[in-house]
């Protein structure tokens, strides 16, 4: 499949910043994006589900080392000037978390100021629909 270079770069960014996810995904063939690096929405969908698993557990394991860089990736992509990159985070990750208010809250409080604004914009528009 042909994608904008920015989406392929987003996938590479995610793998390099969150190697725990990259490793889990490459070892577990049940991941949607297993051996499908050319499908950014599947990669980020898997990332959303991976994140949800950590954020949704009892006691919420925010001490996981990989969570901080995960929030940074979300922040950078959400505030990207490239609408395709922002869309990838909205559709691939935030929508996966959307039915879990506590997970969404944790993401939000770990975003930068501009990231929180974009997050609120997304919340507002998705609630309108």
């Amino acid at each position: 499949m042909q994608y904008a270079r920015s989406l392929n770069e987003a996938v590479k960014l995610l793998f390099s910043r969150v190697p725990d996810f990259a490793e889990a995904r490459s070892q577990d063939s049940s991941f949607m994006s297993h051996e499908r690096e050319d499908s950014p929405y599947l990669v980020f969908g898997d990332f959303g589900l991976f994140l949800l698993q950590a954020l949704d557990e009892d006691g919420i394991s925010t001490n996981e080392n990989w969570l901080r860089p995960s929030f940074q990736v979300i922040d950078e992509m959400l505030t990207s000037a490239d609408p395709e990159v922002a869309n990838l985070i909205q559709v691939g990750v935030l929508e996966v978390l959307a039915d879990h208010p506590e997970a969404l809250r944790l993401v939000k409080i770990n975003l930068s100021g501009p990231g929180q604004e974009k997050f609120e914009d997304w919340i507002r528009s998705s609630q309108q629909i």
Partner: protein
């Protein structure tokens, strides 16, 4: 001023959503809606795929009913990814999000759900070809493929 614009946008979107519901119902006749198993009726035929569900299943959402029936872990992830519990558009599926975006012109995210739909479709087709599915999972995949192709055509 900003508040007035938001309110106008909200009202316009509400009208479009109402129109979309009517369009969907008109198009597929008793189109499945969230909360009952007939959700998988006319378009997807998933009601048939799931067979006669126990009573408890009949009370579930589209997502819940599918997840209760699925054995294959990759298919489970694809359904978790493609169906939202709290979505207000159609039955909460990516296919219905795409239909909504195409029919109303309102994007549900920054650039919409088409690409996600294409990738999920491609993954479902690969899974179907893999021969790793039991007969019920294969039937569910067939119907999901049909539904996504219908939305993307």
């Amino acid at each position: 001023m900003q508040l007035i614009l938001w309110e106008n946008e909200r009202l316009l979107n509400e009208l479009k959503r109402k129109w979309f519901r009517e369009w969907l119902e008109d198009r597929v006749r008793r189109r499945p809606y969230a909360d009952t198993i007939i959700l998988f009726g006319p378009i997807t035929g998933l009601g048939r795929a799931l067979g006669p569900a126990p009573k408890v299943l009949q009370l579930g959402t589209a997502r819940m009913n599918l997840l209760n029936a699925i054995q294959n872990p990759t298919l489970r992830r694809l359904v978790e990814y493609s169906y939202r519990v709290g979505a207000r558009i159609g039955n909460g599926s990516t296919a219905d999000a795409i239909r909504f975006e195409r029919e109303t012109g309102i994007l549900l995210s920054r650039t919409g759900h088409m690409q996600k739909g294409r990738e999920v479709l491609s993954s479902l087709e690969a899974l179907f070809r893999s021969n790793k599915l039991n007969s019920k999972d294969a039937q569910i995949v067939r119907e999901l493929i049909y539904d996504l192709k219908d939305a993307l055509k």
